[in-house]
């Protein structure tokens, strides 16, 4: 079986379309799906996680947030109103001084930001906070 130039091009285009497709789907995953992917559907208890975020963020392009959870092995930050709700996952290693970290994130608009911590014993804890955003940070 031999491929003409035209066949080869068509095949290539098809392959590109196929690989692009799942990316689109995952980008549209809802915040719940992101959380479920992290917890594996396990119960999430409220409290036990400290999430520091401003009440009002003037510029959604850079919103300082800090998370801390004593005894957490990993913490995920979820921006429920962003086009891609997954923000960051912190995995704490053996030389981590405290299960805390701070960073700066983008928020598309006023929304709830959640932090879910995976504790060392396998349980999950959650905290959330509403941040009002004056100017969204995801471009037009």
């Amino acid at each position: 079986m031999s491929f003409s130039r035209r066949d080869t091009l068509a095949l290539g285009a098809g392959a590109v379309a196929l690989t692009a497709l799942p990316l689109r789907v995952s980008a549209a995953a809802s915040a719940d799906e992101v959380i479920n992917a992290f917890t594996g559907g396990a119960d999430v208890a409220d409290g036990g996680v400290e999430l520091t975020a401003p009440e009002i963020a003037e510029n959604g392009n850079t919103v300082p947030v800090a998370v801390a959870a004593e005894g957490a092995a990993a913490i995920i930050i979820v921006a429920t109103g962003n086009p891609n709700p997954n923000v960051a996952t912190f995995n704490f290693g053996e030389l981590s001084g405290a299960s805390s970290a701070s960073t700066r994130i983008r928020l598309a608009g006023t929304q709830e930001v959640a932090a879910i911590a995976k504790m060392a014993d396998g349980s999950f804890k959650k905290a959330s906070r509403t941040v009002k955003v004056t100017i969204g940070g995801c471009g037009g």
């Binding site: 086009p83 996952t89 030389l95 805390s100």
Partner: protein, 109 residues
């Protein structure tokens, strides 16, 4: 975006054995989210740093999986335990395959 990327790290030069130290890192990167569009409506392709790790003498301190919602010039602040003298190694992984590295030595005593 392999050009113009400059990692900056603030770490103590010395610490007591077993002390918990705070590390601050910043790397200049535009972190193109893939959501923005050009004037003609075509999307600007995503180009971000998708992973950041910090190790001390080969042992993991933190490993961050980053998504497009992280701001331009990603900044991280976190804590690490310094059990003995050695080097912090900070590594950033770009979408385009580039890897940016920097190290900081810490003395004990």
């Amino acid at each position: 975006m392999a050009e113009g990327v400059k990692p900056r790290v603030k770490a103590p030069k010395s610490a007591a054995a077993g002390e918990t130290v705070t590390l601050k890192t910043l790397i200049s990167h535009k972190m193109e989210s893939g959501q923005r569009k050009k004037k003609d409506g075509s999307p600007i392709p995503r180009s971000i740093i998708n992973r950041f790790t910090c190790e001390y003498n080969g042992k993991s301190v933190i490993d961050v999986a980053m998504e497009p919602s992280i701001s331009t010039n990603p900044y991280f602040e976190f804590k690490a335990v310094v059990p003995e003298a050695g080097d912090f190694k900070f590594t950033w992984y770009d979408d385009d395959g580039s890897v940016y590295e920097t190290t900081k030595s810490v003395k004990v005593g």
